[in-house]
């Protein structure tokens, strides 16, 4: 029983990181009906920027996190404006291809700047040696607590932005019903750019958090591809349309992966994600948090 609970604790911080990536995907899906496959590349690139500052230029952790987040904001906004906007009204496959292209381009660019084969370590914000209770050693460290709090703060801030501010109301209107929003004087184009920017910034934070764990590292391909896959799985489990679903999906996935890695084997980790995904979709084809009524198209 202790081991079970301990493994759950060990899964929480990863789950929160998946939740953040899932949120960044859900926000874009909700507003533009595009799955942003470039998210993995975007957060890889911004994490590299943070890594470069911390490890090469000896900048402190928090400043690097701030710069990485800001770069995410810019990268997301520019990508929407320059790459996605021109193909948005074409066939639905076009934006998907564009985001895949951006993913590959970002990976190639990062490889040219920072090298492809080497994996770099990213310092954690806090100690990642686990807390101890009596003589027992927990799979939960100050750094994990930091990750949980950081993502929770992001979630709360996003909730306040979307639910409590006029800007958030405009963003929701633009996402749910762009034409009606325009009739009401909402500048939909600007808000889509802003939505991509905020979403990429959330991804950037997730990237830095993921890199700074005991198993994390920075490389153009590899760790962030896995992060995108798990984030996407969490988003789909949650219903792809629901921010709450993204958080629950991410946390749930984190827990199950932690148990399965330990009780079964950690060599086939992506398989567990696939199994969970299929199992959830068999029971609830639209995800856990899908709206009861079908969406009008």
């Amino acid at each position: 029983m202790f081991r079970f609970v301990n493994l759950a604790l060990g899964g929480v911080s990863n789950g929160m990181i998946f939740a953040a990536v899932a949120l960044s995907l859900v926000m874009i899906w909700r507003s533009t009906r595009i799955v942003n496959f470039a998210q993995g590349g975007m957060l890889m690139f911004t994490t590299f920027i943070g890594w470069d500052l911390v490890q090469v230029h000896n900048v402190n952790y928090w400043a690097a996190l701030a710069v990485a987040t800001l770069s995410g904001l810019i990268l997301g906004g520019v990508s929407e404006r320059v790459l996605v906007r021109p193909v948005e009204n074409g066939p639905p496959l076009n934006p998907v291809i564009v985001t895949l292209g951006l993913l590959i381009a970002l990976q190639a660019l990062a490889g040219m700047i920072w090298g492809n084969s080497q994996s770099h370590s990213y310092p954690p914000a806090y100690d990642f040696r686990g807390y101890t209770v009596g003589s027992r050693h927990l799979f939960f460290a100050p750094n994990d607590l930091f990750i949980v709090i950081a993502v929770a703060v992001v979630v709360v801030l996003l909730y306040l932005l979307f639910q409590r501010t006029a800007l958030g109301l405009r963003m929701r209107a633009a996402a749910f019903s762009p034409e009606v929003a325009r009739l009401l004087g909402v500048k939909v184009g600007q808000l889509l750019t802003l939505g991509w920017a905020v979403s990429a910034a959330v991804g950037a934070i997730a990237g830095v958090l993921a890199a700074g764990t005991s198993t994390g590292y920075v490389q153009p391909t590899g760790p962030f591809d896995a992060l995108l896959v798990y984030g996407f799985t969490a988003a789909v489990i949650g219903g792809l349309d629901s921010p709450a679903g993204a958080v629950v999906g991410g946390l749930g996935l984190g827990l199950v992966l932690s148990w399965a890695d330990s009780y079964i084997s950690n060599n086939i980790e992506p398989m567990y994600a696939l199994v969970i995904l299929v199992a959830v979709l068999m029971v609830r084809p639209n995800g856990l948090f899908a709206r009861a009524t079908a969406r009008r198209v």
């Binding site: 006029a166 109301l169 405009r170 929701r172 209107a173 749910f176 019903s177 034409e179 009606v180 929003a181 325009r182 009739l183 009401l184 004087g185 909402v186 500048k187 939909v188 709206r291 009524t293 009008r296």
Partner: protein, 235 residues
């Protein structure tokens, strides 16, 4: 206050509006009538900039609407209630109403307008925190009209407000329009298939057929013209 001159709007090779002209005076209700596909909805969408006309002029209060982006049209005092109600079902009643006046960035004004709309449409006040999903068709139409009024428009463009509604509710909405015209000098352009109820409140009317104006004049005259009624209005 609104002059539409010789407007041509095309969808590909189809001329949805083929030289439509219309003059609307302040504090009047103008009914735009005609069968399905006559171009009524296209006319409204062209006026507020959702569709750009191929040629022709649309001038509102001295502003050239053909060159005005949709988002700015509402700021000139033109509100549009789109066909199929156009309320945002994922939001609550109150959020929908707030959206109507958000562009003003004036909280006090927002509260006043909201109070007025709730006075006008009592059922909305009781459901203000409910999701629009839970509203009936009539309540949604009230919400759509109420939201348009939140922007304190000079000109209200209404697309098929009676669609799918019980006659009693239709009558109530028509009565509201008449009150707003008389008390607040609101100008209304009302697109309707239900010609009888539209003519009962309208001051003037035009009848469209295949994108052309086939009749226009005072509402009472059109309602009295038996041939026209049989040919185009179906009553």
């Amino acid at each position: 206050m609104l002059q539409i001159e010789d407007v041509v709007t095309t969808y590909g090779a189809v001329r949805a509006l083929d030289g439509v002209s219309l003059d609307v005076d302040r504090a009047t209700i103008t009914a735009v009538l005609g069968a399905n596909g006559a171009g009524k909805t296209t006319l409204l969408r062209t006026v507020n900039g959702l569709i750009r006309p191929r040629s022709g002029r649309i001038v509102y209060d001295g502003h050239d609407l053909v060159r005005t982006p949709v988002e700015r049209v509402v700021r000139l005092g033109v509100a549009h209630v789109p066909e199929g109600r156009g309320v945002i079902t994922e939001l609550t009643v109150e959020e929908n109403l707030r959206l109507g006046a958000l562009w003003r960035r004036d909280r006090k004004q927002m509260a006043t307008s909201m109070g007025e709309v709730y006075d006008l449409f009592r059922p909305l006040a009781e459901r203000r925190d409910r999701s629009v999903d839970t509203l009936s068709g009539g309540e949604r139409q009230m919400l759509a009209v109420g939201r348009a009024l939140m922007s304190r428009p000079q000109l209200l463009l209404l697309d098929e407000p009676s669609l799918g509604l019980a006659p009693r509710i239709t009558a109530q909405i028509m009565a509201t329009l008449r009150t707003l015209r008389d008390e607040q000098s609101l100008t209304v352009v009302l697109v309707e298939q239900n010609a009888r109820s539209a003519l009962s409140v309208a001051d003037q009317a035009i009848v469209l057929n295949l994108g052309r104006v086939v009749a226009s004049g005072p509402a009472a005259e059109l309602a009295a013209d038996e041939k026209l009624r049989h040919a185009y209005l179906g009553f």
